[in-house]
Amino acid sequence: MNLFLEAIEFIFTPVWTIVTTERENDIVARTGQHLYFTFISLVAATIIAVPIGYAIGHTGKGREFAVGLSGAARAIPSVGLLTILALAVGFTARPIAAVIVFLVLGVPSILAGAYAGIESIDKRTIDAARAVGMTEWQILTKVEIPLGLPLLLGGIRNATLQIVATATLAAYIGLGGLGVYIFEGLPTRNFVEMLAGAILIAVLAIVLDGIFALLQHFAVPRGVTAGKPTELRATSARRRTVAGVPAESSKG
């Protein structure tokens, strides 16, 4: 546990007293880089994925494609993708390599959130909207998008987690971010510095996730429950059988 105290001390030690290597950057700047990469990639991934996801959700076509895509993205090791792209694009264009990797990680989650949000809506609601004379565009913008919002936000939240975790690897190809502390400490076996970096990254991920949890909670109008996981925990079957409470009617 001593190592943890030292790591925390490292985090709160003013920059100019750290004697490992010369450093023009401090923790705030590296957190900024980390967040910058995360934010840019997240915005790009959202712009790419949301329209496609809505198209899949609204038309019901192309679902297999999206599932296949997320399966493939899960199987591809991000370290491998990052290193091969870094080699392919050359030294100066490495940020592009990093952003492509983050897109590959982020797009499938957001895509899934977008179409799953629409899929989760009761088909009768959509039929009703069509029956009262809404155009397809109105159905999409006034019914499907608002009702699917919770799951879309869930998808963006997943994507954020993946990207913020992988942004750590940006330091491996010399792009900065909080991963610097880990990759700087590795060759010299400086576990205090590595631990400090790891703690910062973990805290950043947890804070971002918390912000999204709050967003998810507040961005959803009170009447919207579509897509929210319903509490399925039934009372003990034994207790109900014994007490003779009628079984809940199974929904069609």
Binding site: P77, T83, A116, T241
Partner: protein, 228 residues
Amino acid sequence: MNWLINNLGLVWTLSLEHVALSIPPVIVGFVVAIPLGWLAHRFRLTRGVLLTVVGLLYTIPSLALLVILPPIIGISALSATNVVVALSIYAVALMVRSTTDALDSVDSDIKQSATAVGYSAWRRFWTVEFPIAGPVLLAGLRVVAVSTVSLVTIGAFVGVRSLGSLFTDGLQRSIPLEIFTGIVVTVLIALLFDRLLVLLGRVLMPWTRVGVANKKARVAIRSLEATS
């Protein structure tokens, strides 16, 4: 192609080491998640606590976990044990969620019927709920297996040999083919694990060959496929 021809032996050894690192976390994830998933399924209090804890654990980035874990459990950061323990934590975190969903998907009418014909709670769990939850458990396990195989490569950074070593070595020596080989073989191993699990599912759950009839289970499987 020269690199590949000269290093086929290395790729084979690394593949075996990769597989050896991938299997324990998947098994640990499956086994440990059964009691935890049951607890989360059964009691409201434990559900909140467990799902929050596994959510937090899953939030910690893998490389950070590889660094934070060793001082806590007292092992070397550069050991294979470290990688296996870290990946087991992720596997458990993912599987607790899936197991909870899987047990939730079992129709309460079925559980009541089992109780009515005299099953004890223990026997009902293993012979009724667990098999019926099977398809959702399998879907969760497939996600865990594929992501574990892919995550093993992170271990290369702390010097634990796997196909990930081809990435770090390939970047240092500027051999794109070396990295490409690593990616392809990792994906192939992930695919192999996935197919094996599907096959295992067919053998152990012959009734699912015609498709999953339970609507709740279908919804749970769909959301697993899409979102984890």
